[in-house]
């Protein structure tokens, strides 16, 4: 899975925001904000990734245990999927 094209990440003021541009403005109204780990996972998903690969990446980046990494990734992916960000 990976992020659909048409969403961009910008740092404005102290916020990391994801916002649709182009065709995606028709499907998705609004924007989301990402915290540090969210931004990290988002960038990982700019390439095709499995949940296992994401969990391994976040575990290495943030030095967290496997169970926490897997759970965090599951929740993040579920939210992105529900919002229509993933292809």
């Amino acid at each position: 899975m990976k992020i659909s094209s048409g969403f961009i990440v910008r740092h404005i003021a102290d916020s990391c925001i994801v916002i649709p541009v182009g065709e995606e403005t028709i499907n998705f109204k609004g924007m989301i904000t990402l915290n540090g780990s969210g931004e990290f996972l988002w960038k990982q998903l700019l390439e095709d990734r499995t949940e296992e690969e994401l969990a391994a990446a976040i575990q290495e980046e943030y030095n967290i245990d496997t169970i926490t990494a897997i759970e965090d990734v599951k929740q993040f992916v579920a939210k992105l999927s529900e919002a229509g960000f993933l292809q």
């Binding site: 961009i8 910008r10 404005i12 003021a13 916020s15 925001i17 541009v21 182009g22 065709e23 109204k29």
Partner: protein, 292 residues
């Protein structure tokens, strides 16, 4: 050809409904002084052929094609008839726009002139965005040589708040634009401009003032104003500054403007009803004076 200066842009135009646009643009007309920033032309046709060229994208009822002249043609189907209702040919950077409209298009609300008004407004929006400015959905007023924009979704009460201010301040206050004022930066500071595209009303003034505040309105039983955190200000600005579906690069440019506005302009949320207390809440906050 006719000429106008709108928000500092030199516009050369040729519209179908001359009497309508002569009246709407009467305070913006200018003489041909230099190379126009934007050329707009509208043509009415009994039948519109699909533009020829390389398909860029199909987005719902709209088709984007790159023509052999390297223009982008955006054709939109008329839902009722299935025919092409409009094609907009845009030169690179939206410096020249030719709008083809179906002559006898049947619509329960919009006339041919309404379509001409809307598409010419889009053309202006695109060009000013390309040049680093923007258009904000809001009702803009000027007082004491300072500009305030009341912004919100349609029907929430932007024009009502502007109208309350007019009732309070009379000749001291000018309505700059009641729907889509333009914003441009000059020497790092934002300025608010009137344009002839002012929505349902003809309330607009050809003027420019420093932009002092942007106020997002929310209906409430009581009146109070609060400064928005950047994250919330970004959300509201991105909701009221159009990002066109047909050009992601233009959409990205609007984010540059939003970023600059967040840095330079105080942005508020006003909880308000229809009363002079709503005016007072804003007046006290912006101008630090007690009495309206």
């Amino acid at each position: 050809m006719n000429y106008a200066t709108i928000a500092g842009l030199q516009v050369e135009y040729s519209f179908l409904n001359r009497s309508f646009f002569d009246q709407r643009l009467s305070s913006y007309t200018s003489t041909h002084l230099k190379e126009p920033d934007l050329r707009i032309k509208t043509v009415a046709l009994d039948h519109i052929d699909p533009p020829e060229g390389e398909l860029i994208a199909q987005v719902k009822l709209a088709t984007l094609v790159r023509t052999k002249e390297q223009k982008v043609a955006r054709s939109v189907l008329d839902r009722a008839s299935g025919k092409i209702g409009a094609v907009v040919y845009s030169a690179p950077e939206y410096s020249e726009v030719e709008i083809h409209l179906l002559k006898n298009r049947q619509h329960p609300v919009f006339t041919l002139t309404d379509y001409e008004y809307m598409y010419s407004g889009f053309a202006f929006n695109d060009r000013i965005t390309e040049l680093g400015g923007t258009v904000l959905h809001g009702s803009a007023v000027a007082i004491y040589n300072q500009g305030i924009v009341f912004s919100a979704n349609s029907g929430v009460g932007k024009s009502t708040q502007a109208s309350l201010w007019k009732q309070c301040f009379g000749e001291e206050l000018t309505i700059i634009n009641d729907d889509k004022p333009a914003i441009k930066f000059h020497e790092g500071k934002p300025f608010l401009y009137g344009t002839p595209w002012s929505g349902k009303t003809d309330l607009n003034t050809n003027m420019c003032v420093p932009l002092t505040a942007i106020i997002f309105i929310k209906r409430s039983a009581s009146n109070f104003i609060e400064r928005l955190k950047p994250k919330d200000a970004i959300f509201h600005l991105s909701s009221q500054i159009e990002r066109p579906y047909y050009d992601s690069k233009l959409g990205i440019k609007t984010l540059d403007i939003i970023s600059r506005l967040i840095e330079e302009v105080p942005i508020y949320r006003l909880y308000c009803n229809i009363s002079y207390q709503a005016v007072q809440a804003v007046y006290h906050e912006i101008f630090r004076r007690e009495n309206v």
